[in-house]
Subunit: 317 residues, 3 copies
């Protein structure tokens, strides 16, 4: 593994290995605090669009392993990009500074792949527009499999499934991870306008992962082991058919709250890639099934540590 | 002491202890350079509004003690906040990343308290709108008591006393610090439109701290031991009664300059929370009574080091 | 050497010493990774205008030597400057925080000199408007002399020679570096509207450095040992005589591409301060004469390391 570009690049074996490494790093960090694996390594966080959460999570992952980081928080506004420099040139310059890896977040789909084509050092995709967000998918799946011990896991996904890159990446990772003794069944629960796109549905069919499509939240909730809620992003609809009233209607009808969460299985879990706005009511936060924080976000730290270790110190895995 | 939210939370004993710790850290740093107390600790600087000065001061304080920092410089623009995430959620996510403390600067009064309500780790208020700025008050008082050795210290405050959170926090800290052998007398010297608000005056009355209110700078200067000048912020008046001409008139009439500073006591001191614009003329800078830099700003570094040490390593105090 | 403000401040001996130190640090870093010379030192990167490239290069230079850094990426927008604080006050405050050097990037010519006048610590000019960019000139010259071994080096400069601070600083550094056994001949190749200004031409005449002025790129390319291309910045012409069509015409006529680069000497080199937009076609990148990355940019790292070492640890040079 050199680059991390897409959830589809992982094999079941690689995913299991990463999760085992994450488990191990949790234990080591509990015992030793800051670790020493990445001493002398520098990870550059090249963020073209804002994401304090993801940038901080990657940065701390590198530093908790003993590495160093440098970053730019809004490369699109501040850096040479504003003067017209191509992403490829920016990558070439950064790697000439003798850094060890670049974590990239970009507004445009395919940006991480474009970076990887010219890079001699590892490129890690931290989200490329409406493309992929593979480390988010890894931390999501890690949270699912470390909580749900069943032969077949029913994962419902809610919210904006059409534009959300996290649900798309998670589906692709589940395809890679699923096995005879690790079966999945997916439920896509959204308003029809925001339904999961055909490309992912076709991939699921090809992989033999059963799924259903519905706009009925009240039927979905009691049936699932995992409800993965996502944000309906108002900005996705700036120039779209849905107006502001429709946006609010969608957000309200598909929101989780204490009342409808009460219908879920007692050992189901609720996830969210965050930030959450109105689609999970705060009265759900105290429910033991709510895992979006701190568990899911903390898992992001450890999955990213596992990835960085695997890429930069394969000898230490 | 877990959180640092308000100047009012400190007792005289705690303040004396912090100042003694600041003194001690000055000596230790002179002897040893970077210290080691916060090894393995990570302090997150969560700034929703710009403040290079305060952010740098807190960040270096943590690092000179051997700690690490991460920061966002404009969380309000760049972070998930722009997508509508609540402050509480941001705090929950950050602390899931196994950090040790959050220093928060926010545009809205009460933000630090809101953060503290959901935080399991220490929250340090680095300024919340027109609310408080307790570490500024601590460094101000530290600079006062380490310079002025009198039984009763006359502290005059000038500029915008109505909106200035530094003068409000300093008054509240003086209330806590004052004692029979450490008497204070306050003079609030400002145009009537910018006078200190009643809430603070009531607190002073209740505490038995004498004060007077005046708009006469020339009478105030010769009488005080400390003149604490503050900036009249043009932006505070965007939609207010004072127009731009009135703003300039106020700034000019209440400014310190070499001529009127000459009327001050020879051992008086001049402080300013900075940035200073026109309210202290540069011809005052060379006056030995001018302590706003480097002494007052440097004291900010040491007072913040003392606070971080007290909160994160109480065993080392 | 205390401050680094202008290319003109260096003597030939000092330049040779810096280049020897850069060579030595390359070797040491290859053997030892992160070095230890700046342990306990803090370099502050005070950037009033965006420059991810220069900021990162300086920051990593300090850190690869074992130092620490703090930075602000857009001081003009975010810091106290937005409230009206003078540059001088900002410098006074920063140095009160016990930092060891300030690297400053500012939109206005003369800003670094202004900072140096009030600073007790070293100030390093990382570009001041259309003034100077001395460390860029140092890395450019270092790349030239480590590639071209001739008694007389013909350096052609192309693009916007009127506004480009890099070419101006490079000329001034060549004046200081030139010697009987290190002769230079300059060719300024640009449209007349963007010709090198008289101040630099006068300095070259006074120093006895031969030069010619031309707008003929096809004659210039075969004759030079170094072609130093620069960006024609659209923003320089916002309110100028040249319109947008003229800008594109200039950019096209004076651009390097595989076809015209083929006419260059086989051992010539092509440099560019970057970012490059359209003035060097990507089809030149694979040409062995193209040194703009990774060599030239990497040299920036080592020249800056050499400078920081010379200034902050003269005993270790």
């Amino acid at each position: 593994m050199k680059h991390v570009l897409s959830a589809s690049q992982f094999s079941r074996e690689k995913i299991l290995s990463l999760f085992a490494t994450a488990d191990r790093l949790k234990r080591e960090r509990k015992d030793h605090g800051v670790l020493d694996y990445l001493r002398g390594k520098l990870v550059y966080l090249l963020f073209y669009e804002p994401s304090t959460r993801t940038r901080t999570s990657f940065g701390l992952a590198a530093r908790y392993l003993g590495g160093r980081t440098d970053f730019t928080e809004a490369a699109g506004i501040f850096s040479s990009a504003a003067k017209g420099e191509t992403l490829e040139d920016t990558i070439r310059v950064l790697q000439s500074y003798e850094i060890d890896a670049i974590v990239i977040r970009h507004k445009e789909r395919g940006a991480a792949e474009a970076a990887a084509r010219v890079a001699g050092i590892p490129i890690i995709n931290a989200g490329d527009g409406d493309g992929e967000h593979p480390t988010q998918a890894l931390l999501d799946l890690y949270t699912i499999v470390s909580n749900v011990r069943r032969d077949e896991i029913v994962v419902a996904m809610g919210g904006d499934l059409k534009h959300g890159r996290t649900v798309r990446s998670l589906c692709r990772l589940i395809i890679k991870y699923a096995a005879d003794d690790a079966k999945f069944c997916l439920v896509f629960c959204s308003p029809p306008e925001l339904a999961m796109r055909d490309d992912v549905l076709d991939e699921l069919r090809a992989a033999g992962i059963p799924f259903s499509v519905t706009d009925n939240l009240s039927e979905t909730l009691p049936a699932c082991d995992v409800f993965y809620q996502t944000r309906v992003q108002r900005e996705r609809f700036a120039n779209a058919l849905l107006g502001d009233a429709a946006f609010l209607d969608v957000q309200t009808r598909f929101a989780l709250n204490a009342a409808n969460v009460a219908t879920m299985k007692p050992d189901a879990i609720i996830l969210h890639p965050l930030p959450r706005v109105g689609e999970i009511s705060p009265d759900v936060d105290a429910d033991p099934r709510a895992k979006y924080f701190p568990e899911q976000t903390r898992n992001g730290l450890y999955v990213r540590m596992a990835l960085l270790l695997t890429i930069l110190r394969p000898d230490a895995v």
